[in-house]
Symmetry: C2
Subunit: 182 residues, 2 copies
Amino acid sequence: MAHINLPEELPGIRGPMAFRPETAKSLNELAEALLRSENSLTRGERELIATYVSSLNDCFFCQNAHGGLAQHYLQCDMAFIDNVKKDYQSTSISEKLKSLLAIAASVQKGGKNVTPSQIEKAKSLGASDREIHDTVLIAAAFCMFNRYVDGLATWAPQDRQIYIDRGPRRAEEGYINFDLYK
Amino acid sequence: MAHINLPEELPGIRGPMAFRPETAKSLNELAEALLRSENSLTRGERELIATYVSSLNDCFFCQNAHGGLAQHYLQCDMAFIDNVKKDYQSTSISEKLKSLLAIAASVQKGGKNVTPSQIEKAKSLGASDREIHDTVLIAAAFCMFNRYVDGLATWAPQDRQIYIDRGPRRAEEGYINFDLYK
């Protein structure tokens, strides 16, 4: 049971968002700007960064909800997403994306952990200032979302297939103006 | 020097906000909704939670910028704010606020660290569900803001008096529609 009285039927972040629409609005607009708006990083790459950070924060709901979106956009299976979470260096993602995931992992530990050499490496692999900025902010934002979801002890469906099945629909609806109850 | 090319004259979060106005908009709207909008927690109490979490995350800019606001709203001096950061139990803040700071400290470590007994204690001291919700989200949001500021290696004025002097003006201007360059 959640720590406060949330709508029981809503999993994960949806409960607190229904409880407090005033803050949900800016949270969803932030997600839309970071994860879906025009960007040289694809939506799949951005959802993968979000998934990876959520896995480092051990947030079951977020890593599966965003993992479901990442595997939909990247047209891969969940085993691939799981491999990225476990050991991204061994996967076939681009070297640039690997360098951004390294930055994201440092942000997850705390902002000061990002090193000049991590930044140099990302730049040498073609990452732009804006891509580095967005990686840092996506990682930082999921340190918020994950703490919001788990700090209120929300529940989450344990069957991972549910998140995979919902991926295409969530990709279509986006983060703004979707119905929390559907 | 910051990790990416930010406007040099802007300290702390202002540099990345000027660099990327699309995300700044929702970040500022979130701060406005959480820290200034109508609430049974005073603005001073909410800025104090933000300051405390920023201090736990060792973010110099945020703990001083929001500390400057907290001491302005609470009409205390910075020594009082520093005592709250060091050992809030020994200060004269309310028992309810102490119980909310305990929840905020757990959120800072990670959402799963919030315990049912912390929540029960806060409720027994009169904290409402919404106050607990807002405490969790303020703490989570500052785990984002702090990582954003430090993850990009922004600079911050080291003279703490500057933040104290700016408190009243920042309280007046709020988090929306202010001029990043002033």
